[in-house]
Symmetry: C2
């Protein structure tokens, strides 16, 4: 498995990326990581780890897309930026996967312009795994496609189902459509049209129809589909709310404790870690002919190592093959 | 102040509505509440409270819009349903306000068909007050207008600002536009166009531009504007997540405590109540020529009483007059 790691991407780049690559390479002898970015800097960091093996190489890039830069402008000004070079390596079949903790808009924009789409796929979308009362749910799309058409949402229902089945081990994932009411006919044209496409397909056996916002965290469906604007807002509102609630609750509860304060502090740390920790290490951009995992900007070395392993798992479970087959073969029911 | 209360609306109707009306009337001798709904049932309930005063009267209606009914169908089949009659009373100027804990879609649909809009208002929208790290923020619209145009969002920026100033006491509220990136030019056409309208108006002094989902709960702006589909999903996702986190955190923290368990239990109860308690008692449908407060379906008598008081406050603070003046007078800066 050959992976291009956008070594300049993320809040703590490039250090955590180099450390994550070394950890992942040590754990998996079949993994080959190409660190893409500032060559002298990356070579110095790699030397400092003491890890010397052909498993990790450095590939030069010129600049990177900053976390606050406008992606299209940055990519135009810096055509050899680290994320652009990662995608060029995948387009040239020199690597099998791209992993980045950089500017999400930059990762997506650089990827979409390669037009490296799986056969039959109209538009790739980002899937994330979120905790729910019943376990976990896949939310898709969370921002790759903020002006989605109904057929895109329909394809996301397939991609999300296959991802949930192969990566979360849900045999026949239930699918819901994010809407502002549960009755049929609710919502805007886009959602009504997508509802018709999904309900009229062989996914209908596992399709539970409209799901309101509340249903995401009650775990009403294993897979919840929405267009990218809504999904991105939902994901970021959730992050903000989780952080606010953890802070507020822990402060108020700790204030009312005395001798047992350390026990509660430990419980809060465990809960906080669980929210931070992401076993797949990143969110896949599904629909790409190749593998792309987008990591949180605040990723540490452990998250990067998880993402490198997650990319390998996506390949091993043949997620892309299943997507192409489902979209081509009249969409057989998953599972 | 004369208020029509949709006595049949809400999960615990009509009991909590009658009790809430009695509590509010006892606290405010100037309040006149018309309980709208099933006359014999309401008269029996009112008699049982022992409160006998011309402050509370009963007005007959025929049926109601159920919480799971499709609003437009229900209103067609039941033209004399409790919420429809409430709006008729306001259209006839027999009451100054409508309060309902019923089906939100039904409250809005029945209201919009009266075309009882304030002068200059294109489309009413629902504003809610949410807790943030810095205090409180107004989110608007949360579902009245799921296919908003840019000029609607622009008007919501004005209405939300006036609401925040008059009801939350923020002298010059900052306004943000919910978007999927903070850079200018981000997002979909609707949002870009709304951005231009707000930035080009006299609101620009207090306009902070795009706010990402995370900024809602970090308190980046006092007022955050979005179209109704996004706002409704955000509101309901937030409700679901808050409930899930409270349950999960309280269970895990309680499990690790011993003698100090009761202290923590008390802290969790206090926090939970704070999230439930809503000092305004409901979310106003702003832009209506009259006052409309929409309460949560799970409202208890205290919430209903708060909403009846909240409606009075909206009148006393001249929120509607300020909205009409702002939209008419070339939109002077608020405050």
């Amino acid at each position: 498995m050959r992976i291009a790691l956008d070594a300049m991407g993320g809040d703590d780049a490039p250090g955590v990326n180099v450390d994550g690559a070394v950890a992942a390479a040590q754990a998996n002898p079949d993994l080959q990581v190409t660190l893409v970015g500032d060559q002298p800097q990356l070579e110095t960091l790699l030397d400092a780890t003491g890890f010397s093996s052909p498993q990790i190489t450095v590939h030069a890039a010129d600049g990177f897309v900053g976390m606050d830069e406008k992606p299209t402008d940055a990519l135009r000004k810096k055509p050899q930026s680290s994320i652009a070079v990662c995608w060029q390596l995948m387009a040239n079949r020199e690597v099998d996967a791209v992993v980045s903790a950089g500017n999400t808009g930059g990762v997506v924009a650089a990827g979409l312009r390669t037009r490296l789409f799986l056969s039959g796929v109209k538009r790739p979308g980002i899937a994330v795994v979120l905790p729910t009362r019943r376990g976990r749910a896949v939310l898709m799309d969370v921002g790759a496609n903020p002006a989605a058409r109904a057929e895109h949402l329909y394809q996301y229902a397939w991609m999300g189902s296959i991802f949930a089945r192969e990566m979360l081990g849900v045999e026949t994932p239930s699918v819901g459509l994010m809407n502002i009411g549960s009755e049929e006919g609710k919502g805007v044209d886009l959602v009504r049209e997508a509802h018709g496409l999904i309900a009229g397909s062989s996914l209908s056996n596992h399709y539970i129809g409209n799901v309101e916002g509340r249903g995401l965290y009650t775990g009403d469906a294993d897979v919840i589909i929405c267009e990218g604007f809504v999904g991105n807002v939902v994901l970021k509102v959730s992050e903000g709310m989780a952080a606010m609630m953890m802070d507020m609750i822990s402060r108020e509860v700790m204030d009312c404790l005395d001798a047992e304060k350390p026990n509660a502090a430990q419980a809060f740390r465990t809960i906080g870690k669980r929210y931070e920790y992401n076993e797949i290490g990143g969110a896949p951009l599904l629909g790409i002919d190749g593998i792309c995992l987008i990591c949180h900007g605040s990723s540490d070395a452990r998250s990067i190592a998880n993402a490198l392993r997650g990319a390998t798992t996506l390949r091993d479970r043949h997620v892309n093959t299943h997507i192409v087959e489902s979209l081509a073969n009249g969409c057989p029911t998953p599972g």
